[in-house]
Symmetry: C2
Subunit: 253 residues, 2 copies
Amino acid sequence: MSQAVSLLENVRIVLVHTTHPGNIGGVARAMKNMGLSRLYLVKPKHFPDEQAVWRAASALDVLDNAVVVETLDEAIADCSLVVGTSARGRRIPWPLLNPRDCAEQILPALANNEVACVFGREDRGLTNEELQRCNLHVHIPTNEDYSSLNLAMAVQVIAYELRMACLANEISHDEMEGWDAALATADDLERYFVHLEQTLIDMGFLKPKAPKQLMSRLRRLYSRKRMDELEVSMLRGILTATQAWVSKAGKGK
Amino acid sequence: MSQAVSLLENVRIVLVHTTHPGNIGGVARAMKNMGLSRLYLVKPKHFPDEQAVWRAASALDVLDNAVVVETLDEAIADCSLVVGTSARGRRIPWPLLNPRDCAEQILPALANNEVACVFGREDRGLTNEELQRCNLHVHIPTNEDYSSLNLAMAVQVIAYELRMACLANEISHDEMEGWDAALATADDLERYFVHLEQTLIDMGFLKPKAPKQLMSRLRRLYSRKRMDELEVSMLRGILTATQAWVSKAGKGK
């Protein structure tokens, strides 16, 4: 496990007064998928419960280690930063972050301290009083016409953003990473284009005196996707074979 | 609905050979929460099904409008860009994007064309043959020790990233947006500090000859919270009242 991702061990997911145990299981699974493990349950209606086990799939360890407490205060007592999930439009506005900006604010705090992310009831979320116990409020930008996100889905999104924030310096933005052959160089590509052009001339398909845009279009086509050495040599193999046929046909004339 | 978010109508979510109808319902809900509406089902095992209805909550319209087809080809036929979700480590590597970079590549394509996001079976994902029908592959960076994301959760993450990409120019990064009072200016704040200092001196709490770090610490405290005008005037009201008491007590001496 990388150093950055191990920071996620300092994140505690706190569920307040959860009604459906299936959601607790779904949350456990979402947490484990993203590398989180510490679940706190404030007065869950049913827990332990087989619905939770069923929805947790293989994240039973998260359920087994869940800490059940009576009050939100107990769940967040030793945390240096407490983030509450909130719908828009509270009576008293509070600084409201989107999940990405929120994860960026949480990340530095994880280095030395525990951070709690608090999620409210399935039907009514967190009360104003509970939200006032939080340092930051986060809002997932849902469809305004249909904004009630399932509890486990909300945890999934926040946990995903935390993981992405931890991985920010590690995630490769190179879609060709881990490719199974060395990428072709500009030289390789140029030699291929020369070979292609000669073959098309040999075939009589390209008239050097009226080349139109043929080579430009072919260059654009092959250049815009990065090719590897095997692919280029495969294509050149086809050209060589084509030239052999043209040559053979020419001799037969 | 904003122009940008309406682009999401051009996204089609394609589920291939889904086994559990509950997952189809969960996908419908996740889609609607993020503003997506077009669901294609390739040979679902059970559909329609009451489990799907139950998990869909209020996203029944997405289920009702779902298009059931026999083959992946039918589901993606008229799409200009097809994105497949993939685990790492396929035999033949393919360009592999994370959900954020993927959403950024999808966004421009949505302006004029339909884009399909294809999700595979709960247990085995997409086959290599199915993945080869896709232009791009996307991988959700899960915990390496526990990577099997629930189907609806995977759709949630991708749909969330698409929505975030659409909102990119619209989302406010100012956590004080929508605040219910004008924010205090630096002048307001400075007048408050002067008032505070004078009050503390009046109270004998601050000794001008041995001020220690008192005002520095108070300045740091109040400055790092951006305050609004009401808050500042409230605090100054308290100072004025305090001064009145100090003055009154002084007179009584």
